[in-house]
Amino acid sequence: MKFYIDDLPVIFPYDRIYPEQYTYMCDLKRTLDAGGHCVLEMPSGTGKTVSLLSLIVSYQQFYPTRRKLIYCSRTVPEIEKALAELKRLMEYRLSVAETEEQQAKERGFYGLGLTSRKNLCIHPEVSKEKKGKVVDARCRDLTNSAVCQKGRENPGSVDLCDWHENLGKLEPGNLIPPGIWTLADVLQYGRDNVICPYFLVRRMMPFVDVVIYSFHYLLDPKVAEQVSKEMSKDAIVVFDEAHNIDNVCIESLSIDLTRPMLDSAARSVTRLGDKIEEIKRTDASKLQDEYAKLVEGLQDAATDEDSFVANPVLPEDLLKEAIPGNIRKAEHFVAFLKRFVEYLKTRMRVLHVVAETPLSFLQHLKDITYIERRPLRFCAERLQSLVRTLELSRIDEFSALQKVASFATLVATYEKGFLLILEPFETDNATVPNPMFHFTCLDPSIAIKPVFERFSSVVITSGTISPLDMYPKMLQFTPVIQESYPMTLTRNSFLPLVITRGSDQVAISSRFEVRNDPAVVRNFGSILIEYSKIVPDGIVAFFPSYLYMESIVAAWNDMGILNEVWKYKLIFVETPDANETSIALENYRRACDNGRGAVLLSVARGKVSEGIDFDHNYGRAVIMFGVPYQYTESRILKARLEYLRDTYRIRESEFLGFDAMRNAAQCVGRVLRGKTDWGLMVFADKRFARADKRAKLPRWINQYITETASNLSTDMAITLSKLFMRTISQNPNENQTGISLWTLENVQQHQAKQKELELETEKQQREAVQDDDEYGDGGFDDNTLAAINLDV
């Protein structure tokens, strides 16, 4: 369908539209027009991505400025889904384009997705490597400019990557025909044409209309520096599934150091020293050249693609400065690193917990080792330059040293919003020390600040991003629009239930004190048994943590509860290994498709809870066992809570509750796709019954929790669920059109009504204005004055 929002023609790839999609697009357009940021919450499964893409692409294609769209999502499956959605949208647009000219315009539209080398490599040997880091390193060995130059001058002297070489022969900006290319498509295109998909996407980035990649590529300064530097300022940035964006921000600036890492770093330093000695004998001019360059400043030191670890944070003006004299010389720098690593090692020997600010750390460092803050700040950059000069291969072996260098740079750059925590023991009752040095970012706004500053429109959206005002507060920005849309339904297609006690009336809770109580474990188990008896196809169960899931799975097995479940469904469990879990997921889906039915046990905030949909038969019921609170004994969390309280006046309990509920909502929200889909949402914990907890759930879920359904025992919940399934499984005969589904006419009607309302208010305003401002002196009135076009 095609309709207009103000003057903008929007092409939407379906015959009908949900009312919330329409309002969502309207608000989005207002944000883009205003050139500001917004926070939008739209119910899961109501086609958020397609609305977003269809409005923004319409916007791009209609206005001549053609602002680029940077679309960020959390996971690779979501990236791929967004790309596929975009591809389908463009196919639709092409099919409805009226004129030849328009068709050409649609055809010329570029959309690409970026992910790591590991996911995009098709080199027969390199791609077999298991670890992403190794793939990166081996790829660099085959593709960096020095090697390439050598190889081209003297063919056969060094190994080069054919795929990368072929790419270089193509005309830049025209490496792949226009269109939308999903990751799978790009891989296939690379295979067919023997060109490297990874560098293809990287080099096409400046030319594409839409680029889709994960949050980290924009938020993590180490990565953003490399891939997102050239994005123009008027680009539209979208963070989809942004409910965890604050965590991504924090993660991108936090670093952990362990003793094995420091040992490895120390070895790397020695190797660097040896290498320098060797180079000095063979090719001393190289080091001289480097020195000369460093005097001039850091800029233009290398092309982006070669850099293996970009400087995490250095501001522009600093980059123009010269590297401090005491680390300019290679051997001096190596000595400097050695001293720093030694210092960190000594710190690790302490057997009590230490928490200190970066400033106090720097002071102590200076007192002991005379290392100053300024050179420390350039540490990462200087290391990169050195590695390049020495033409080191297999830099994955230097990763620990890189981490130390990044740590040095970060600690020397930020004073506020960070904390250093040294934990000598893993747990409180451990006796063998396993020290870990956490450098932790407490303030999510630090990482995202450059994004807000640089780009005029940033859209933060998700299915579950309640309470909305929390995000602007945490991320320190002022949104133009901040909106949560209710879900319009002609019949309740999902049933949220809160189970507070078992059939034996024992209260259930995942509270630490009672969670391992046999009565609670058994009652949780009987919920699973009962639901696996009555629910068809797939059931997904979420636990608050891995630790709890693992212990409860063992307990259930020993209590014979799982044996009971096996009678009705197959059982799959999330494991520590991502690939193994993917296979379990695949089998889970097969079992659901086959009709055998299965139960998937997984963890809230875990791997499965992010980016995997359990729509239709893949999830007819989601059971949330317990409230997914974070582990409050964690020192890092404690520090963060304290910081939030002191800086933003967000109370600890408020934040913890908010965080738990957004994750719970995220888990249960994945059961729906479309309004004909249905599912049960079971919250099994007595704490969910409290009104203040439920108030933190998204409005679209909360509005359907009835008073009776908010405090149930297992047997009552089962009765309600059966009743619900009996009614929902009947054919939805009633016509949803007009209420929860709009046709084009409905949209136009709505617009006409809206316009009328506007005119009405405007008229009233005008009348009011005229009453006030009519001076009767024959001059221009205010409206006319405002309408005059002044060429200033």
Partner: protein, 593 residues
């Protein structure tokens, strides 16, 4: 070699007889009798139990799909011979059972009921009837009907059909009564009776052909207490299950039994070995580790515990990118602090083998049903449509697809002409203005009209009176006793259902149901006419029957009119059918075919 027929002397329920294994059945014949009194089709065998080696009596117990208790046979030959005989039966039956379990035996032939067979009921005339076409199952679930694999396989198996009908009748007493009434008294034939009831048979067939999948439970032999002793009871079935679940045990079995040790010794040692412990689905095994003895033979087969964060074996090919969690992990360099202790997966390493066992077991069960992971290529590349289907919001499409079936109108020209003529004739131009005025005029002075409205008092009283009478009459009816004697009532009901059945057959012959599946031997027109005539013959007797009933009622002192009223609808229906038949015959003499 399942075709060999085994035979042995065995007693059943303390009666001596012969136990035989034929290619299709296991049967037992009592000595001195000719027909076997127990006949169990192979497809019904579900489990097998044996008495212990060295027990006084050599017994074999066969559990059935429908009946866990099953049959118990005792071998009568001297101990040594009996054991050998039993072993032979055991091997054969174990094979059969395992085949059943795997469900390779797609139930093409439907197993007859598992009751010790009595003499076949002579009243039932089983004539061969046209095969039913089984419609392919529309269910997404492949397990629902094995037919879905071989759609449209005609089951031209009269015996099977016959059995099927018996089972339908057994499970439906009303239908059985009707069947007795009509078919056994030879009023209508068996085939006629079932005509138009195919759907019942089909439902029954579908239900029966639904294969039971492998039960989901883990193979986890737990010690039970038998006669005060704690032991693990091993049945041939359990043995197979263990071999299925743990190929390594099978390997050990093949390599060692008969060479190094006897079978009982093998199991004895296995259950005490570390190998068994590692196979147990419990994390407690870690605690019992020290109880378990070292075993030089079984320890060879011991694999390292699969409790690392990364699994030891992992399938090489990737999963569909839409569910590829590994891709996300590798999407960017790991950043951030380590997750807190509760969120580190795999902290309890003892649980990992258990979790992996669950996933593997579930996967294996699926593979056993669906075959190996299908179509790897498709999974990786994923066709575009399939991708889109996963993203589609189907309710946002206009439902154009179900716009109905186009009418096959032969002479559309005439249709439209006729229509337009009609409309041109009947169109009366209504002037909107006039209509409005008319309506207005008719409404003038409505308020005065309303105020003048008076309700006639008498009429109101009459209405009330009438209502009271109505209620009283109803009450009277209710108060009156059920005065129709039981057997008369039953007769009435029988007449009613029989007449209904005749009517059904009659109309079926006149108006055959829409042929949703062309039956091969569908009766032709002449047959139908004959049938209809026959039915009319029956229907004509309805009057007599009712008259008879009335007579009977009279003699019992029941108001005959009551009977008449009760039977009136049926009589009317019969009347109508007969009138139709007469009219039709008068209008068009039956074609001389």
């Amino acid at each position: 070699m399942p075709s060999t027929t085994l035979a042995a002397k065995a007693s059943y329920k303390k009666l001596p007889g012969t136990l035989e294994l034929t290619p299709t059945h296991l049967q037992w014949t009592q000595d001195g009798k000719k027909a076997p009194s127990i006949k169990v089709p192979h497809s019904d065998a579900a489990s097998l139990f044996c008495s212990k080696e060295g027990a006084a009596q050599v017994r074999l117990k066969l559990g059935l799909v429908s009946d866990e208790a099953g049959h118990n046979f005792t071998f009568l030959a001297p101990q040594a011979v009996a054991v050998v005989e039993r072993e032979r039966f055991k091997t054969e039956l174990t094979n059969i059972i395992s085949v059943n379990r795997r469900g390779v035996n797609a139930s093409g032939s439907v197993p007859p009921p598992v009751t010790p067979i009595s003499a076949p009921s002579p009243g039932n005339v089983a004539s061969p009837r046209p095969p039913l076409l089984s419609r392919p199952s529309t269910s997404r679930a492949a397990s629902v009907a094995s037919e879905s694999r071989t759609p449209g396989t005609p089951t031209s198996d009269p015996a099977g059909d016959f059995q099927l009908r018996i089972r339908v009748l057994l499970s439906n007493p009303d239908l059985a009564a009707l069947h007795r009434e009509l078919v056994m008294s030879r009023q209508i034939t068996e085939d006629e009776f079932w005509e138009g009831r195919q759907h019942i048979l089909q439902a029954q067939r579908a239900q029966e052909s639904q294969r039971r999948g492998k039960p989901g439970q883990l193979v986890d032999p737990r010690p039970q207490s038998v006669d005060g002793e704690i032991k693990i009871v091993i049945t041939p079935q359990l043995k197979l299950d263990i071999f299925d679940e743990y190929p390594v045990v099978k390997k050990a079995f093949e390599e060692n039994v008969d060479k190094n040790m006897t079978e009982p010794a093998f199991w004895h040692r296995y259950f005490q070995s570390k190998l068994f412990n590692s196979h147990r689905a419990s994390i407690r095994s870690a605690a019992t580790q020290h109880v378990v003895k070292d075993d030089p033979i079984f320890d060879k087969y011991l694999e390292k515990e699969d409790d690392e964060l990364e699994p030891r074996r992992l399938r090489e090919d990737r999963v569909d990118i839409f569910i590829d969690l590994g891709a996300t992990l590798e999407d960017h360099v790991e950043t951030g602090n380590e997750r807190d202790i509760t969120m580190q997966a795999g902290k309890q390493r003892a649980v990992l083998p258990l979790i992996r066992k669950f996933n593997e077991h579930s996967g294996r069960l699926l593979d056993s049903v669906l075959g190996d992971t299908p179509n790897k290529r498709r999974r990786i590349e994923g066709s575009v449509e399939e991708r889109y289907a996963q993203l589609d919001l189907e309710d946002l499409h206009d439902n154009q697809s179900s716009s109905g079936i186009t009418l096959a109108n032969l002479d559309s020209q005439r249709y439209f002409e006729g229509r337009s003529n009609q409309t041109s004739d009947s169109t009366i131009t209504i002037s909107a203005k006039a209509a409005v005025q008319e309506a207005k005029a008719s409404l003038q002075g409505w308020s005065t009209n309303l105020s003048q409205l008076k309700v006639d008092r008498k009429a109101g009283g009459a209405a009330l009176e009438e209502m009271t009478q109505n209620v009283a009459a109803r009450l009277e009816v209710k108060m009156r006793k059920e005065d129709i004697p039981e057997h008369l009532y039953r007769q009435m009901a029988a007449t009613q259902t029989a007449t209904n059945e005749f009517l059904r057959q009659f109309w079926l012959a006149i108006y055959p149901p829409p042929a949703d599946f062309p039956t091969a031997g569908a009766p032709n027109a002449a047959q139908k006419a004959a049938k209809a005539a026959k039915m009319v013959g029956y229907l004509e007797r309805t009057h007599e029957k009712v008259e008879g009933l009335r007579q009977g009622a009279h003699s019992l002192g029941v108001d005959p009119n009551k009977i008449y009223t009760a039977m009136k609808p049926v009589l009317d229906a019969a009347e109508k059918a007969m009138a139709f038949w007469r009219q039709r015959n008068a209008a068009k003499p039956p074609p001389p075919r």
